[in-house]
């Protein structure tokens, strides 16, 4: 088995956080790959929920959109979208919300709305979608995002989804039912909130990455947790399963679609 990429390590590290049987509300992109890798390896009975209303879906290839036919065809059931958000998510029937974002701050708050001022943005991002209420109501959230100079920042341009707000228990004093971010998976390792300050700190590194490298990628003075782990590299089974999933996905997405007549 050849060496792994950082993307693969991120996906594998994220998949290991999921447990068999958990009910997981899945965002598209890296979270979707991680959740399906978990399903195809150590968590065969994970319940994957996508916001299109597909419950308990078992896609053979990764969907490009949140509502590909593949998700409906392999779902245990398909419910109307308002029900997903009210009867399932808001009602507290989701264990894990798995989110991506453009920016995250030191307290795990997320921005997927704008870079620059809201009324005159330099970059208009897609917006909240399901993320705001997933962040509020899932029992806990995992966040995946790649580290760039503009992604792990001291201050967000806009707060689209709540993490620990200003830390120090501010989230717990709101009416949000979910506990907030448990782990942030990025491309040098994992960040987890410190118990009292609720500030994200470095708790694990990928093999071969240094603390200095992690610090350089983060826009606030990154603290190191009392215990700093090194993540096990991807196993041959994990890598083989993930690469086969991506290969099936590429093949399916490049298959020409007949234009209906």
């Amino acid at each position: 088995m050849s060496a792994w990429t950082r993307d693969e390590m991120m996906t594998v590290a994220a998949s290991r956080l999921l447990w068999d049987g958990c009910v997981c509300f899945v965002g598209i992109g890296l979270p979707s790959a991680a959740c399906n890798l978990a399903r195809l390896t150590h968590a065969p009975d994970i319940v994957l929920v996508y916001e299109s209303g597909t419950l308990g879906t078992r896609p053979d290839v990764l969907p490009l959109s949140i509502g590909d036919g593949e998700l409906a065809e392999t779902a245990a059931c398909v419910v109307p979208l308002p029900e997903i958000f009210s009867y399932f998510l808001q009602a507290g029937r989701v264990d894990v919300g798995f989110l991506g974002a453009a920016q995250i701050d030191r307290h795990g708050n997320l921005n997927s709305t704008v870079i620059g001022p809201y009324d005159a943005p330099t970059t208009r991002l897609p917006g909240a979608g399901g993320a705001t209420e997933i962040a509020a109501h899932a029992r806990q959230t995992f966040v995946m995002l790649k580290a760039t100079t503009r992604s792990l920042v001291a201050t967000l341009d806009f707060r689209t989804s709540a993490g620990f707000l200003d830390g120090q228990g501010t989230r717990a004093r709101t009416t949000m039912r979910g506990a907030g971010p448990r782990t942030v998976i990025t491309d040098f390792g994992l960040l987890t909130p410190e118990t009292s300050s609720e500030e994200l700190q470095l708790s694990a590194l990928f093999p071969g990455v240094t603390v200095d490298e992690a610090r350089a990628a983060v826009g606030w003075p990154l603290r190191v947790a009392a215990r700093l782990d090194t993540i096990e590299p991807p196993s041959p089974l994990e890598l083989e399963t993930l690469r086969a999933l991506h290969a099936r996905t590429r093949e399916a997405h490049s298959r020409p679609v007949r234009i209906p007549a």
Partner: protein, 281 residues
């Protein structure tokens, strides 16, 4: 019988300045209807959709809209909607006022609209800047528990346009697969236009299939392929390749205009649009 042509349905039900919702969550997006609105040159529309998707990127880029209510404005799995971004960032081709929500908020607002209630309440928008950015996101106190809950005004479009697998000759509409908030958006509207893949003598019995009964449907249009490049469960697949190619087509103004003229404006109807894509492939 409510069976009309697409051109007739748009002429009758979509006026300049109207509030229009073309719903369908990734699945069953009414592209043909959006293109006909562009062909007929409607202006000043208030467009409503949870996910604007390529169809609103096209309508916004062609200058049909002055206002947009939405909750996620990207090209799913690909990136940005460049025409939406250009309208918001540079007011091109015309300024676009945005009324931005979350999926849960728009879904609740459609439900309230369908029930003809004035507003919807939810545990939503918590701990975010969304309510600061949008003055239409407010809060109410629960009269029983005192809890502060988010409140959003009901959405009641002048017309909602949907695409579905089939309708019968009376105008009953059956939908299966991913449903999105189509039923709620349809029942919230003052008029409901549905384009369908086929018209049948009798719908298959489906007690729990989503059926919009004929007396809530204003017009039915037979429009095969009407959701392409979105998809119709049981009929044709989503053209993910088209969604990926759209990123380059829509990236600059001139290339976008040329594509729209060639394929949409110069095509008499949706069948001609599909044929023009086939010819270009």
């Amino acid at each position: 019988m409510k069976l009309v042509t697409l051109a007739q349905a748009i002429e009758r039900h979509v006026a300049d300045g109207a509030c229009v919702a073309l719903e369908g969550f990734t699945h069953l997006i009414p592209f043909a209807a959006g293109h006909e609105i562009i062909r007929q040159g409607r202006r000043g529309l208030h467009l409503v959709r949870m996910t604007p998707d390529l169809i609103y990127d096209q309508m916004i880029g062609m200058g049909c809209a002055s206002r947009l209510t939405f909750s996620w404005g990207g090209n799913p799995g690909v990136g940005s909607l460049h025409r939406l971004r250009d309208a918001v960032e540079h007011r091109w081709p015309v300024p676009l006022e945005i009324d931005e929500h979350t999926h849960a908020g728009v879904a609740a607002a459609y439900c309230a609209g369908a029930a003809r209630l004035p507003f919807a309440t939810l545990r939503g928008y918590l701990g975010t800047d969304l309510a600061t950015a949008n003055p239409r996101i407010r809060s109410v106190e629960c009269p029983f528990t005192g809890e502060r809950l988010a409140a959003v005004p009901a959405i009641n479009p002048d017309v909602t346009i949907l695409h579905a697998q089939r309708a019968d000759r009376q105008g009953n509409v059956a939908i299966h697969g991913i449903l999105g908030a189509q039923r709620e958006a349809g029942l919230a509207a003052r008029a409901l236009v549905v384009t369908v893949e086929e018209i049948v003598d009798a719908l298959p019995p489906a007690m729990n299939g989503i059926v919009l009964p004929h007396w809530v449907v204003s017009a039915v249009v037979h429009c095969p392929g009407g959701a392409y490049p979105s998809y119709v469960q049981g009929h044709y697949a989503r053209d993910n390749g088209f969604y990926q190619r759209w990123d380059a087509i829509a990236r600059d103004r001139a290339g976008f205009r040329a594509w729209m003229e060639r394929h949409v404006l110069h095509s008499r109807d949706h069948a001609a649009f599909l044929a023009s894509l086939e010819a270009a492939a």
